[in-house]
Symmetry: C2
């Protein structure tokens, strides 16, 4: 696929830095937006929902801290008392009914993760059978189409567009059943295209354009919607940041047994690799030294790299 | 102030954990919402604006990466092409005009930070003068009111409600001048109450209810809107998380010279303090060892604490 006007990541970061400048909270939101949507496949609407929910939960927690004073909570957040009341009721109902308010959960939307399983369940294919069931093809032509699949492709039937779209719709319906009524989203052509595009974009599904058939065919190309390499690291990053944030919350509350630090230094680039390797060993050795089976659960998180924006 | 139904932080966290569960991206949003609004004093509306802006910037960055393909970008985010086009134009205009899109900047809103300066400028008070200028009071009564101020209170006149409200409005007008027209917010009674409440809540301004006058008076109680203790750490936390997130972005992109790690271990609580002190020294010694004046700028961030949600 040729992309003539594609900008390199460095240049994109520079453009973003121009408008976000040195505002750390805005940067956290931007990194998170890119991590969950661009890399993670969540919808724009899901991200905005999640941010709104987080803001409501913050209001609710202040409400609890303020002795349940609606007026005072409203002043603190610059929200009308009527609106505070509605937010408090919404959260209270969710808590009372054991509803989940998580939006960006499971790293990937369910309809993306579950597809390979549902496909193999609905359209299984015996080891000796051909994946291609489209009519009007000779055994040799079927084999030619099968041979165009990547080596690791699961044994599951190749679908035409109608069957593939029906599978996506079925998946969507299944995913909606898990949600409380208020969070459900009707199926639409636009949503179908979004899901289809994500599946093709991630390499989970492959579009087979064979000269032997005049319609596009779709093949399951992977056992799981597994983000690879960069995307896998992007998920680990979100986990890391959430855990790091959580440790720092304890540090803000001055809890015991928390250490937080930043070391700022300049390095001779010839020694950087050696220094980082030494650091890695140093920290593992330290954790091993103090590890005691059955002890109190601890975690240490660290990251070292280029210092920016001095 | 008695707050009979105030819940302890631990219990509030448990309630929040029930609804957010184990969704790291939702937790990051929640921590950020609490950090910027509850601790930082930003408005509910400002947080939602910032989240929307971040989402738009993510879309814009995908647009640039996709070879400026509006349709493809729309599929990726499940956003109508028309809407993608509007978002792209909005960001392009901001970039071209050198506009700032940061929303949660300066840690605190300008109108809170600037108040002590403007107050002292507009209502100065000589060292020998009384801060109290309200008519109908004897010198002894004025002194009694002044004596009720905390020792560190700056020398600035004590204001009645009308003057205090006018000062807040003036501050708001000044803060709006810095903003592009689209981001400006009209002044309102509700906004006035929000700002006033934040100033009183933080201890920057003190309400003086003297039996000698039948109207409330307001005194400047601090030289700066300085968040103390817990709130100061909350700002450092947001800085830390943004920087940590930024290092991990480089790790996701597999850049050279980045180290990211997590050590999971259990500890004998009797040795925890000793272990953390040792770690602190270990890391400082490591950074000192490799520090070289004029070298390549590096930063190491670390945090250790209780491991949750095993």
């Amino acid at each position: 696929m040729s992309q003539p006007s594609q900008l390199p990541p460095d240049q994109i970061r520079q453009i973003l830095a121009q408008v976000v400048e040195n505002s750390p909270a805005d940067w956290i939101l931007l990194y998170l937006a890119m991590g969950t949507m661009k890399m993670g496949g969540h919808r724009y609407g899901a991200f905005l929902d999640a941010a709104t929910t987080a803001a409501k939960l913050a209001i609710y927690s202040s409400f609890l801290e303020c002795g349940q004073n609606i007026r005072k909570t409203g002043f603190l957040y610059h929200v009308e008392p009527k609106r505070v009341k509605a937010i408090v009721q919404e959260i209270q109902t969710a808590v009372a009914e054991g509803q989940s308010l998580k939006v960006l959960n499971s790293k990937e939307p369910y309809y993306l993760i579950a597809l390979p399983f549902l496909w193999q369940e609905e359209f299984p294919c015996g080891a000796q059978e051909s994946r291609v069931r489209q009519p009007g093809l000779t055994p040799g032509e079927r084999k030619a189409i099968e041979d165009s699949l990547p080596p690791g492709a699961p044994k599951a039937r190749i679908l035409d567009q109608v069957a593939f779209h029906e599978l996506i719709e079925k998946l969507h319906d299944l995913s909606q059943k898990e949600l409380p009524a208020a969070q459900r989203m009707p199926f639409s052509d636009a949503l179908m295209m979004h899901i289809k595009f994500r599946l093709l974009h991630s390499g989970t599904v492959l579009q087979v354009d064979s000269p032997l058939v005049d319609i596009p065919l779709y093949a399951l190309a992977s056992e799981s919607y597994a983000p690879k390499d960069e995307r896998e690291r992007a998920f680990a990053m979100i986990d890391d940041v959430a855990r790091y944030f959580s440790i720092l919350q304890a540090w803000v509350r001055s809890e015991e047994g928390v250490l937080r630090g930043v070391e700022v230094f300049d390095i001779n680039l010839d020694h950087r690799q050696e220094a980082l390797q030494e650091l890695d060993v140093l920290l593992r050795t330290w954790a091993d030294k103090y590890h005691q089976e059955g002890g109190y659960p601890m975690v240490l998180q660290f990251a070292a790299g280029t210092r920016e924006g001095d």
